[in-house]
């Protein structure tokens, strides 16, 4: 973990409520896709946890969905704004466990950490299948970016306005050879993905309201088969075997 100032370089609106932010700063603490940053915002006491969508030596890519005041303020920062950021938080995905037929399964804003993950899996020589789910076509984003990575891309929307009609789980069922999932999205989606019988294993990224984000306050702990774990420090990625719903 590192506490340092990042500078907002640019913000781009992707959908009615979702934005892409590029920040520049010291990313040396970031070690794995699936980690997150915790961002201080003026006038807010608690920091806001946001997944690292992707990163380079000097920059961070974030995708942010506006749900309340904090995210509202964040996406409206003007280029040049300095942000106090704790970077490199959480365990991140473990690529080495993904096997030969991994699938990345993301729903809504949960697709964010899967982007950097996909890129690194491709670089590591094991390109994943990527299944993305949205409520409707107008909510979809980052399809071109994922496609440009060169992954097999499966899109599902609840209303069928884009890709197949249905849920991410329907996409996954259509590729029964995929037996290991790396997933991030809303809780009902994670739960449905977790229950798919074709999966031998998987890694699931969880959310929790956080006091600190670096393991000190026990604000975020959840029960697992291996005892209580801190979503912020022992997670946000939990493993299929250990998850209790």
């Amino acid at each position: 973990m590192k506490k340092s100032l990042f500078t907002l370089e640019h913000a781009r609106q992707l959908t009615s409520d979702t934005y892409e932010l590029v920040l520049s700063g010291d990313t040396s603490a970031v070690t794995a896709p699936g980690q997150f940053v915790n961002i201080e915002l003026p006038g807010k006491f608690l920091r806001r946890p946001i997944s690292i969508c992707n990163w380079t030596a000097g920059s961070l890519l974030l995708l942010v969905k506006v749900v309340g005041e904090g995210t509202h303020d964040l996406v409206r920062c003007v280029p040049g704004t300095e942000l106090d950021v704790l970077s490199g938080l959480g365990n991140g995905f473990d690529l080495s466990l993904a096997g030969e037929h991994p699938i990345l399964a993301g729903g809504g804003i949960g697709i964010a950490p899967l982007y950097g993950l996909a890129q690194r899996m491709i670089e590591a020589g094991s390109p994943p299948t990527v299944a993305l789910g949205f409520r409707t076509g107008a909510d979809a984003f980052y399809l071109e970016e994922f496609a440009a990575l060169g992954c097999r891309l499966l899109i599902a929307t609840e209303d069928g306005s884009l890709g197949v009609k249905g849920f991410v789980t329907d996409s996954i069922r259509a590729v029964p050879e995929c037996d290991y999932v790396l997933s991030c999205g809303p809780l009902p989606m994670l739960k449905a993905v977790h229950a798919l019988p074709q999966l031998k294993g998987g890694q699931f990224s969880f959310e929790a309201r956080m006091g600190c984000g670096f393991g000190a306050c026990m604000g975020c702990t959840v029960p697992t088969r291996d005892g209580y774990k801190r979503v912020c420090k022992d997670g946000p990625i939990l493993y299929k075997e250990e998850i209790v719903w």
């Binding site: 973990m1 201080e40 929790a208 956080m210 000190a216 306050c217 604000g219």
Partner: protein
């Protein structure tokens, strides 16, 4: 050169800054960030007799100027702390440790404290009496002078270490509770614990925190904490650890002027993991501005 050292019931701290219980775990996470030996002490996470899983999620809510928590005293239990955390603390912090102890009966408080008798590093016991008394309809020990005194007496009977009773602010008359603890032999007092608060989630129309209520802490409680430190300083002649909303060296000085001999910093650590380090570093300049060469001169300095 400013002398930052302070004395808490015979225990010398190199400076008055102490991370508050529950915001610093057992030191591990912060030891990765900075050398803990710059701290006066630290108060470890409230530890109970049995391991506790704490409350269901969510446990955290935000508010203007602070936060609410309902962690529910999640901790591995006193035995595990003595076996696993104490040896680790020996590696990361070499000053006096404050052991924050919880309990749900008077006997439990005494047993937990007794188990720390042989733990050399623990120089002060901080007895958190904001816990519900399971034998008394769940009323907090700290909200009644009699039960506060009983806990004090029971703990004092089993330990030679200085006992600081940590008071809850959710009372009509904090001075009365302080006097009861003093009368029962407390060596010092720590105040305040969190204010009882609540938020409702407009999306679900239900309490935001699963436990319904949570403890309010952070800058929002600072003036309430300061007032209580003042009142207790006037009421009893015991050293006070002032706690509640302290986020800067200036806040720490204000707390000491109100009557605190040392100062705990809680929620500020969660927002800024370097908060205590920064406060320690800024204290000498603040003392110089205030014209004191020994920081302990500040204690109670605002009283007449």
């Amino acid at each position: 050169m400013v002398n930052l050292s302070v004395n808490l019931a015979g225990v010398e701290l190199k400076n008055p800054i102490i991370p508050a219980s529950g915001t610093f775990g057992y030191g591990r996470e912060y030891a990765e960030l900075y050398d803990l030996d710059i701290l006066g002490s630290f108060s470890w996470k409230g530890t109970t007799g049995e391991p506790r899983l704490g409350n269901p999620q969510p446990r955290i809510a935000e508010m203007t100027g602070g936060m609410l928590n309902a962690v529910g005293l999640q901790n591995p239990g006193i035995d595990a702390v003595v076996e696993q955390e104490v040896p680790n603390i020996a590696k990361i912090f070499h000053g006096p440790v404050i052991a924050n102890v919880g309990g749900f009966s008077i006997d439990e408080y005494a047993e937990n404290c007794a188990k720390l008798n042989d733990v050399e590093q623990v120089k002060i016991l901080e007895v958190n009496i904001s816990c519900p008394n399971v034998h008394c309809g769940g009323k907090n020990f700290g909200s009644d002078p009699r039960s506060a005194a009983e806990v004090t007496k029971a703990v004092k009977a089993v330990t030679k270490k200085p006992v600081f009773m940590k008071l809850t602010p959710n009372v009509t008359d904090i001075a009365e509770i302080a006097r009861a603890c003093a009368g029962a032999g407390a060596d010092g007092l720590c105040l305040i614990n969190t204010l009882l608060g609540m938020r409702i989630d407009l999306k679900t129309k239900r309490p935001l925190i699963a436990n319904r209520t949570g403890g309010v802490s952070g800058p929002a409680v600072f003036p309430v904490a300061l007032r209580m430190v003042w009142d207790v300083y006037e009421a009893v002649k015991l050293p006070i650890i002032g706690c509640g909303g302290v986020s800067s060296a200036e806040d720490a000085a204000e707390m000491m002027l109100a009557g605190a001999s040392a100062v705990e910093v809680g929620a500020a650590n969660l927002k800024d993991p370097y908060a205590c380090k920064t406060i320690v570093e800024n204290l000498p300049a603040v003392c110089e501005r205030l014209g004191v060469t020994n920081i302990s001169e500040l204690t109670g300095g605002a009283h007449q």
